[in-house]
Each structure stands twice: as C-alpha cells, then as structure tokens.
C-alpha cells in the first residue's frame, strides 16, 4: 500500500473516541463501527489523513465515534461535502457515512452525481429500510406495503434498489454486506478503500426499534447459507448449506441450479467477474431477490475508470505548464490597458 505507516502500526483502539456511543442497544450500527475501527488500521493511512463525512440520521452520528477528522453535516448533502474535501485535498482518505433516507431520498441528487463523477471516496450506506431518527417512517428502500407511522394503510411506494440505482448512475464499485457479518465487512471496507473512484458499500443493517428483523429472512442462521450468495472475483457462484447450489445463465436470465442434479456440473456455474466494465451481469446480480434467488453479497462490481479528482488535478498540473499568467498582477494588467 502506498502510504503504509510501518513505524507505528495503528490498532482498533486508536480509532475510538472518548464520546459515548448513543445508538439503541442492539442496533446494527455498533457492529459496523467496530468493523470500521478494525478496517482502518489496514488501509495504510495515518489518522490525520482520514476524514469521515456524514449527513443526518442515526448512521450519521458515526463520525463522532471515530478518532479521525470528522464532519457531521446536513441531511443528504454529505456527498457534496465529501467531494469538496477530496478535491480540496486529494491526499485524504474520505469516507461518507449515510443511510437510506439520507442518501436516497433527500440526498438522491448528490448520491447519483458523486457516482457519476467517480470522485475517489468511499460511501458506506447503512440500509435499514426505515427512518430511525425521526422515529419510524418508511424510506425509499422500504418494501411496498410496509405499515409505518406515516403509512398506516401500507405504503404504495415502490422501493429503490441501491445497487441498481448506483450502477445506473455509473458506479465503478458496488459491494453489499450485512451488519451481522463483521469479518466480511472489514474485508469489504478495505477493498472499498483500495478502489480508486467512488466505492459504494451497502450494508443491510437491522433497526431493532422500528424495522426489527426486516433482513432476518436473509441473515438468520438457519437460512443464511441458502439465501446469501457471496461473490468473489474469479470464483464460481456457488452457495447453499450443502455448498451445491449455483447460479447459471439461462438465456438472458440467471437461475439457481443444483450441482449434481439434471446433469449440472460446476462447469455450468457462472464465474464472477467483478472487473468487467459491462454492467449487465452486475445488474442481474444486484437484482436477485428472494425467494427465487439468493441475495448477492461481496464485491459485485469493481471496475477501473479515471477518477474526477485525478483528472481535475491532472488538468491543473497541465495548465501550469502552459500558463499565460503567473500572478494576479499579470492578470489584471492583461488585455487592453491605458495610461492616464
């Protein structure tokens, strides 16, 4: 890693602050915080060069608990603030912490534009499919029909699929994890930091108060092996309790098959290609939903592309080599001037 600090290896503890963590007992956010504090010593940056930017919502309290530079901003605007930080000082490692309401409702515009530009920041999206801090209204990722305080008769809204939205907006990196799998979270955070460009990590996060167990069909111990597909670049898409289920391409659709049945062998199973620029496969993977298909996890898409900040600073360096003016005094004296 480029900035590895060998002489003072940081640990989990170095990234804890003296502030009391104020999430509800049992909230998925604790596990995410802890995974982040474990991931940060692995990214090879000094604390002084790491910045956490958040918007508003339960998840957005996160920066107060991480011993780096931090900015708890206003609702939905963290991508714009993070963009300003990264452009202003491209040497910083910039992390945006957001939730489904913050990123996809009030901040939807900034969310798609930061992805479109591919600014080199990491966006950690805590998706609990509900508004927690305002006490339980449906969000843009809530499933249609959900009854909440603001939808007593059930919602008639259709939900966003964050991965689909992100890929549509031009995301170069998309990963999905669950809050109950800390080790995988750590790995994915490290991968997100390595990727140059906007890295979006969607975390399925349980809200114990307003939307408890919404992901239990995916995360419960007895179903998780059958309902989660963990992707790894270059590896076949195999899952299941018996590790014998796989994903096969059938025409233009993905389907679940069982290895050893109906003549299916491992050779028929799709091999994950996260680096492929064409987003067709990645779109199909993020779209997979229960009960027909397992839910895809891990790094689904990670493609190389130029970043906004690199290109901008390349332009700045280039303009310096051919600049007409070297000072403001030269600028104000340029063009038509006259003496009196």
């Amino acid at each position: 890693m480029e900035h590895l600090v060998k002489d003072q290896q940081l640990t989990f503890k170095d990234f804890s602050t003296d502030q009391d963590v104020r999430w509800c007992p049992g909230c998925g956010d604790y596990a995410i915080l802890s995974a982040m504090q474990k991931a940060l010593p692995q990214i090879g940056k000094e604390k002084k060069d790491i910045v956490f930017i958040s918007g508003i919502g339960c998840s957005s309290r996160f920066p107060y608990y991480v011993e780096t530079y931090g900015f708890h901003s206003i609702h939905g605007r963290a991508p714009a603030i993070a963009t300003g930080v990264k452009l202003g000082n491209p040497d910083l490692s910039v992390w945006q912490i957001t939730g489904d309401g913050d990123a996809l409702a009030i901040g939807g515009n900034h969310f798609i534009h930061v992805l479109r530009r591919n600014v080199d920041i990491n966006v950690i999206l805590f998706n609990n499919e509900i508004y927690g801090l305002t006490k339980g209204q449906f969000s843009p990722t809530s499933k249609t029909g959900i009854q909440t305080k603001s939808s007593p008769h059930g919602t008639v809204d259709k939900a966003f699929n964050p991965g689909k939205l992100a890929i549509g907006a031009g995301a170069t990196f998309f990963a999905r994890v669950v809050d109950v799998d800390p080790k995988k979270m750590v790995d994915v955070f490290v991968e997100a930091e390595k990727h140059r460009g906007t890295s979006l990590v969607e975390i399925l996060q349980n809200c114990v108060i307003f939307n408890d167990k919404v992901f239990s069909v995916v995360t419960d111990k007895d179903v998780k092996l059958d309902n989660q597909l963990w992707l790894e670049h270059g590896k076949p898409m195999i899952f299941g309790k018996e590790n014998n289920k796989g994903i096969r391409l059938n025409g233009l659709k993905l389907e679940v098959v069982t290895i050893g049945e109906n003549g299916v062998t491992e050779k028929d199973i799709l091999v994950h290609d996260a680096y492929c620029e064409d987003e067709t496969l990645h779109n199909m993977l993020v779209n997979m939903t229960l009960p027909e298909m397992p839910v895809a996890f891990g790094v689904i898409r990670s493609v190389k592309a130029f970043t906004f900040n690199d290109k901008l600073w390349e332009q700045i360096s280039h303009e310096k080599t051919k600049a007409k003016f070297s000072s403001i005094d030269e600028v104000v004296n340029s063009g038509v001037t006259w003496e009196i």
């Binding site: 060069d49 931090g70 605007r77 300003g84 452009l87 700045i316």
Partner: protein
C-alpha cells in the same frame, strides 16, 4: 457641407436591437475604445432573459447603455443623446428615454410594414410624426453591410450579421473614436476564421466611411479625456472584478481557491472567469445544484481551501441551510449573491436589491453572518478580497452582495497591485498544545482552523450545538444560550475591524441621503447635481451591512432626516430602524428591475430640502 467638431462634456448612447443582433458586443466595444482614449464611463447592459426572444418584438430587445464624459461619470445616465435602433422594436422600447432633440440612428432596411407591425406600431413611426423633434438618421445598414462584405468568402447568413459593426462604425465617427481597438479585438475573436474577421472589419470601416460621406450628420463630437487620477487603467465589469478579487485573496494567502457553484443568471460570469485559472490552483467545481455548490465549498473549506460559492437570489434561498452549517461549524466561506429581480424566478436579467433581508436573516435559528456589499463594478475587486479576508480572519461565512447592474456594468478601473491590498492573517492551528476545536481568540472570538492532514488535531465538527471550547455535541441549556450569544458577538465584533462610514457633502444638516451596494453611482450622480444648489445635505453609502460601521449612530445623529434609497420596498431601512430606532427615517424605493435615474432621485431629494 463642412463638418464641425463640437466638444461635449458627457454623452449617453444607447445601442438597441434584437437579442441576436450583437448589441452587447457592440456596446462593450464602444466602451473599451472610449475607456482607452481616456473618458470616464459607466455602462448598463439590459437584455431579456430569453436567449433569442421572438425576433422583431419589443420583448426581444437587447440594449446596452453607456454614459461617458470628460468629467467623472458615476452612472450609465438617464435619457440617451444618441439611440442606435436596429429595428422598430428597439425604437419602440426606447422612445421614452431619448433626450429632446436627441439623435436616432436607424437601419432603414428593417423598417418595412411587417417590421413595425411586429413592434406593434400602428403606423410607420418614420412618417407619422412620432420622431418629430429628433435628429433622425436613416441609413440602409443591412444593405450597405451586405455590400461591404461581398469580396469575402463567408457563409451567406454571415453577410448581414456584421451590421452591428457597421452601426458601430457610424457611432465611432460621430464621436471621433479610433477603430483599431475593435479591429484588434475582431482579429483575436475570429483568429480561427480570418475571413470573418476581415468581413467584420470591412463593415466597421464601411460604417465609419458612410458617416463621413453622407451629409446626414451635421457634425461630429469630441469628448476630452476625463481628469482621472494618474495611473494605468483598464475597463472592468463587476463579475470579472469579483473573480479577480478572489484570485488576489488566494494568492495573498497562498491558499487554493475552491469555487463550488451552479450556473445562474446573472452570476455565471464569475464561474466562467475563475474556470480559466487552473494554473493558479483554482478548483472550479460546477456542481449538480445550488446546494451541492455551497456544500462542496464547505467541504473544501474544512479541507483548508479558500472556499467560495456564487449565486443569485433563488440560489441563495437554496443555500440557506448550508450557510447555517458553515456558521455553526465556524468555517470560512464566501457566498456571493449577484442580486436580480425577485421574488421566485422574478426578473433574472434585471437588477434589484431585494436579497438584503434574505442575506442577513434568511436561515433557521439565530444564524448571524457577515454581510457586505460592493457598490461599483470595479470595487467588486476590493469587496471580494475583503469578503475573503473577513471570512478567513474571523472564521465565519461572509455574504457578498452585488447586483446585476454592477455585475454586468463596466467602468474604467485604476488597476490595483496585490502588494497594495491589505494583508490577510490566517488563523491556522498547527499543534495540539493549547488547542481545542472551539477555543477562541479574545479579540475576534474566532476559533482556529484545524485542517485534515494536521497531526494530532483530529476532531469532529457538525451542525449539532457545540459545547463551548471542546466543540463536542452538547444539549445543555445554558451552553446553548452561551453559544448563540458567542456567535452573535463574534459577528458584532467585526465592526472593530472594518472602516467607518464616511459622508460626502455636509457633515451635518437637514438631510442625509443613505444608500447601500450597487446604487452608489446613481445616487452620487444625483447628489453631485443636487449639491450645486443645496448645501445642507450629506450622502452616506454603506458597504458594510452586518455589522454596521461603528460610527453609524454618530453620523446619523447630525441630520434631521435620514432618507434611505434602495431598489426594493424598504429592506435596509427596516434593518436600520431595528438597530438605531431613534432617527427620523424616510424611504425612497424603486422596484422595477431598473437602476435609479438621476431625475427621479433629485425630485425626491428636493422634497426634503428648502
């Protein structure tokens, strides 16, 4: 007939035509040449919001007014001595603002029945007596332009396009101006299509020669150079001066300049200008919306840049919450509001001063920020620089108000040197000992700027209420009240660091005329005229709105009446009444999207004078 050369002191010319006729370019060329030969001047471009409004209609008329003279010129003037009307609509739109016996130059080729019907004249104004009493010069401009460019290899549709240059040629002769500045400009503008450059120059020359040859023009005029202070000059508009003032502040502080902005009329020229200077480490970021514009600037400010966002009224409304965040986190940021006619989308290309209340109060909670206002095109340079200085030294957002009138208007500027600008002292935290995120210096109450990348100063800020000194989140009642007071005091104390209010004319008397921001030139023009007759009147113009200059009270106490003139329904006067209620205030307001005229101001002033 022999040609006479008459000497004039000052002249107002209005160029008017369709929005596609190139009137803005014609006007600015005339301004540049006029400035170059040493006249003082002031310009007023006035154009519709539509890029190409329906041709030939009054709604589509684009105008450019310039007043120039051998004495100081503070405003673009009222009624025109010369109107150049490229079509009947341009004539119609300006009929009421030409001086008696003024000169009207028209393109007779565009005065066919169809043309004056489009302009909603019921009969031909050239024949029905409408123009009696004016010196009417009818020139077949379109036809002559076509003829003058026959030898050039250009597209057919370009053949009549140069008619604005033909008209400019006539006016150049009329006012005895040289052609070379515009010729050089055309060479540079069309460097990639030399035939177009030649054609335009030929049309310009043809117009000039036409004026010499025909005997329609009884004389031409000369206007001696103005007695301006010695030095090197250039012509400058307010938006360009604003951009350059920011460049100057960035160079003075060695900070990177970050502009996070969304395009909006009439502020976009600031974005265009600053986008040219990447070589100075200028990061110009065209964001996805107004909110992202300011938020990216706040991020850049957190990261240690000189951060700026530029906008106009509707954009300022959208930025309100973010300005509150910058105020709460006590980060330096400059917000430029080039005011235009409101409310809502309002009159995007017209001028107004109706964002004052929004700038001072337009946020949730008690959210004081510094508000200053530039008052001439050229002093936008000084006030943009000053906005940056105040933001950085006091660690707070600063709103700089300009307006469409001074942003697009031009005047000669005695070029400043960076070395002559006041120094800017940065307030950087560099080491942990004795530092806390919200620890303040005693004089200014400013906190220090601890930017990411600085060892051991890792800390968290945000929009939640801060605990005094530590900056940790605090919901404690007494602390909240203390912080509200501290933030208010911080801005109030800026009064100790800004110039006092100065008065022109009588330092005591019956009447003090008060203005602020972009109306300076208009009021001064009327005031100068007024004082030829009246001596018991003073004029004080405000550039500092929040806080007010320290001596405001003292100045006001010397006059029987304080007359506050503004291009809104009375916003500054409300602020003054709130701060200094003991005076006898009167107000004069205009909300037409237009600057004050000298005549209407003098009429008003004399009501209060014996």
């Amino acid at each position: 007939m022999t040609k006479n050369i008459e000497e004039l002191e000052e002249v107002v010319i209005k160029f008017a035509g369709d929005s596609g006729d190139g009137m803005q370019l014609t006007g600015s060329q005339f301004s540049n040449t006029t400035a170059f030969i040493g006249n003082d001047l002031s310009t007023f471009p006035d154009f519709p919001a539509e890029i190409r409004a329906p041709q030939g209609t009054v709604a589509g008329v684009s105008g450019f007014k310039i007043q120039f003279g051998s004495t100081s010129v503070f405003s673009p003037g009222d009624e025109a001595d010369v109107l150049v009307a490229m079509n009947p609509a341009a004539l119609k739109a300006n009929l009421t603002s030409i001086k008696d016996r003024g000169t009207i130059i028209i393109d007779s080729d565009s005065f066919k029945i169809k043309d004056f019907e489009k302009a909603q004249f019921t009969s031909n104004p050239l024949e029905d007596g409408t123009l009696d009493g004016y010196n009417l010069i009818q020139a077949p401009i379109t036809a002559l332009t076509k003829e003058s460019v026959t030898q050039f290899d250009i597209e057919n549709k370009s053949r009549t396009r140069s008619k604005n240059m033909f008209a400019l040629g006539i006016v150049y002769w009329l006012f005895n101006r040289p052609l070379d500045i515009t010729e050089n400009f055309l060479d540079a503008k069309f460097s990639k299509s030399p035939e177009l450059a030649k054609a335009n120059k030929a049309a310009l020359k043809a117009g000039y020669n036409f004026a010499i040859t025909v005997e329609l023009l009884p004389s031409n005029y000369t206007i001696k150079p103005a007695a301006l202070p010695k030095g090197k000059y250039r012509s400058i508009t307010g938006n360009i001066a604003t951009a350059w003032g920011l460049l100057a502040a960035a160079e003075a502080t060695k900070l990177k300049l970050f502009l996070g902005t969304y395009p909006i009329t009439p502020a976009s020229d600031i974005l265009h200008e600053l986008s040219k200077y990447k070589n100075f480490d200028v990061i110009s970021f065209q964001a996805e919306d107004e909110i992202a514009g300011i938020c990216s600037a706040i991020g850049a400010s957190f990261a240690g840049n000189l951060a700026v966002t530029s906008t106009s009224g509707p954009g300022l409304a959208l930025k309100g919450e973010a300005i509150g965040l910058a105020m709460m986190t006590e980060l330096p940021i400059v917000i430029i509001d080039v005011q235009r006619g409101g409310p809502s989308t309002g009159l995007p290309t017209k001028t107004e001063q109706s964002d004052l209340m929004q700038a001072v109060y337009g946020r949730n909670g008690e959210s004081p920020v510094i508000v200053i206002a530039a008052s001439t095109p050229s002093n936008c340079f000084d006030f943009a620089y000053q906005a940056a200085k105040l933001a950085l030294e006091h660690m707070t957002p600063v709103i700089l108000l300009t307006d469409g009138f001074i942003a697009n208007g031009a005047e000669p500027w005695k070029i400043k040197k960076l070395a002559d600008m006041p120094s800017i002292t940065l307030n950087m935290a560099t080491k942990k000992e004795g530092w806390s995120p919200y620890l303040r210096d005693e004089k200014k109450l400013a906190r220090q700027w601890a930017i990411p990348g600085t060892k051991e100063l890792e800390h968290r800020i945000g929009g939640l209420e801060k605990q005094d000194i530590s900056g940790n989140v605090s919901y404690e009642p007494e602390n909240h009240e203390k912080m509200v007071t501290l933030r208010a005091d911080k801005v109030k104390r800026v009064a100790n660091f800004i110039p006092e209010l100065s008065v022109q004319g009588a330092s005591e008397g019956d009447l003090l005329i008060v203005g602020w921001g972009g109306t300076y030139g208009s009021i001064l023009t009327a005031f100068s005229e007024l004082t030829k007759e009246y001596k018991n009147v003073g004029f004080a113009h405000f550039n500092y709105i929040n806080p007010l200059p320290k001596n405001t009270n003292k100045v006001f106490s010397k006059y029987k009446t304080i007359l506050v003139c503004e291009l809104n329904s009375g916003q500054f006067i409300r602020l003054l009444k709130g701060e200094l209620s003991q005076f006898n205030y009167q107000q004069y307001n205009k909300v037409q999207g237009l600057p004050f005229s000298k005549k209407e101001l003098i009429n008003e002033f004399t009501k209060y004078l014996k």
